[in-house]
Symmetry: C2
Subunit: 384 residues, 2 copies
């Protein structure tokens, strides 16, 4: 039996690599649907190459172009957020890969879970914003959430066969990004181009900036809390510039397990698709003989304040992680548009967190409102 897979956000970094993995194993996987926000050229190319049953272009103004380009194929082309939700809950698929960027991932993930799909979760914002709601929904619908993020995949892989054993803590590794060695003073005038130059991982713009500010690690801490049912003091972060150890679990007996390898997202993507099986791959192998040293250091939360803000949001709970995430999305966008400086990023996020109304037990609608209101206030603060 082939596993039938839908990829939400197929034109992004994770999306394209997911299609590569699916294309490598035609006997194991069948592509049901692909979706994209705006990038119609790549979406059309992917549709021809991988022949899904459905293609969704979220941007309605681009529907006609996609429709016409694919008119010679049997592929059904759809558009709009309703179609996105429909395809996410589509009965043909066994698993939905959620590879959209940001808050936009929440809605379709909810639809997929309601339809009882397993989720390969690449959209960490889903759990950051609404972790409690999402994990409960998955439980009710007997859906599995398999992480795709390399750190969470590492933890997930280390927990295989350890279901009855207690976790003492987990340690998420962080490359430290391009600014690991910089002082506060030096970070004042770093440019967008410098921030986009990640030393180890090739990823989309948003997550690359989040890596440079360490907000990415902060979001991952919150994601891990929900994926593995841990308290905030059971989750540590350590800087590991080589990105070879992808994360570590420490059990109550003092034993640690780590998952390691090349920094290659195709490995955790393939694992999420094939879990619990592993499939033979020809991805490059890591060689210890070529690696003089693996190093570790504590993150400097005085400089990378986003990490501390994320822990604060996690401890406070309620709608606070949702606020953190929305404020961050807007500020990162502003940084990419060069309207805010690098060091202003955590300052603005913190201001917004202090300004917003705290809701201890938010409903799905509350999340939506908090997200909306946070974006408005953040725009206001930035002055655009």
């Amino acid at each position: 039996m082939k596993k039938r897979i839908t990829v939400l956000g197929s034109t992004g970094s994770i999306g394209t690599q997911t299609l590569e993995v699916i294309g490598n194993h035609p006997g194991k996987f069948e592509l049901i649907a692909i979706t994209a926000g705006k990038n119609i050229d790549l979406l059309i190319e992917q549709a021809f190459k991988y022949s899904p049953l459905y293609v969704v272009i979220a941007d309605e103004t681009k529907y006609r172009d996609v429709y016409e380009a694919l008119s010679s194929t049997p592929i059904e082309v759809m558009t709009g957020s309703k179609s996105l939700a429909e395809v996410a809950g589509q009965s043909d698929a066994d698993m939905v890969v959620t590879a959209m960027v940001g808050y936009a991932g929440l809605g379709p993930t909810v639809e997929a879970l309601r339809a009882g799909k397993d989720i390969a979760l690449a959209n960490k914002e889903t759990l950051v914003v609404a972790g409690e709601y999402i994990t409960r929904l998955a439980g009710q619908n007997k859906s599995s959430i398999i992480p795709v993020d390399s750190e969470h995949s590492a933890i997930f892989q280390c927990l295989t066969g350890e279901a009855d054993n207690q976790i003492e803590k987990i340690i998420l590794t962080a490359s430290g990004g391009p600014f690991r060695e910089k002082t506060y003073e030096q970070l004042k005038n770093v440019t967008k181009e410098e921030a986009l130059r990640h030393p180890n991982w090739c990823m989309g713009d948003k997550i690359t900036i989040d890596s440079a500010t360490m907000m990415n690690k902060g979001l991952e801490v919150i994601e891990a809390r929900w994926l593995f049912n841990l308290s905030s003091d059971q989750i540590e972060v350590i800087i590991h510039p080589q990105s070879v150890i992808h994360s570590i679990v420490q059990f109550v007996d003092g034993s640690m397990k780590a998952q390691m390898g090349m920094p290659d997202m195709r490995i955790p993507i393939q694992y999420a698709l094939s879990y619990p099986k592993r499939i033979i791959s020809d991805f490059p192998r890591f060689s210890f003989a070529d690696c003089p040293a693996l190093t570790f250091q504590k993150p400097d939360t005085m400089i990378f304040r986003n990490l501390e803000l994320a822990y604060d949001a996690l401890k406070k709970g309620g709608n606070m992680p949702c606020i953190l995430n929305a404020a961050n999305e807007i500020v990162v966008e502003a940084f990419l548009n060069e309207t805010v400086g690098f060091l202003e990023i955590p300052e603005i996020i913190e201001s917004v967190m202090n300004k917003m109304k705290y809701i201890p037990h938010p409903s799905l609608e509350d999340y939506s409102e908090s997200d909306h209101e946070t974006r408005r206030i953040t725009h206001e603060l930035i002055g655009n």
Copy 2:
């Protein structure tokens, strides 16, 4: 239900630590029997402290002393190799910890397996000498063999929940011992005292010398072949001086899993006893923040020739690993008695391997004879 445990070789390094673990968890483990070769003072002390049902002193000349010392207790004192075999197969125990040193571990392990006991294997020579026979016997009797060696425990822990997944290779880490940085020239005149100064692990004399010569890693390669059903080219060795990563599995998808922690044998011992559960421990925890770097290098098999001899023996198979092991035991003894030099160790072992009659498919009796004959020839070569 308490797990009922017999410890063969209770006065050695692994034996004493095993009793410590058992003593830490009186609600989980019950001690059935302890055995020792000669060290009656410690054996008597252990008997009083841990109250087993049976005590065996292998050396018959020491029986009376032990018997009299324990006459005020209900403990049954036995002696001789027949008693050792009896206690190993004793119906009261669920698990037998085989912590004797060297070839002597084979016989009692066979008895324990024939009686259907699970084995916590700390005597690697058992699998080195007669791996094929032992693994078949375990299979026939539905006995589990849980490794205690830190490297094999690491692999075993990484394979939990991965039964259906194919191993590409395993990488056994080696501290490199006290002579890692030495040149061939410098090794000519190293003393027994220098060889006994292991940088990371506190172990018995025999295994500490084996670490200095890297024969220990060679024996572990052969042990791993049988424990995990691998071919010799699936087993690699890498020098990792910090002994934090205890070994690594690489699966066919390119993902690696490692088990790590403090170099503390109580962790793998406890895991072997409690498997598949993990028990809370207060052993010291490893901290990445305190560890500047984990380093790796290829072993120099020109200098540490024992490692290559072990691979040769493994590839040749039959009685060759048995010959390797027996020759090594005698030569190490001679080195500890200062009758052979450090660099002569592999030379003598290689000569013996070339001299001995090769038996491709040995019976248990053939092993016994090969062991005997090898010891005789090795003594002859050394000239004592």
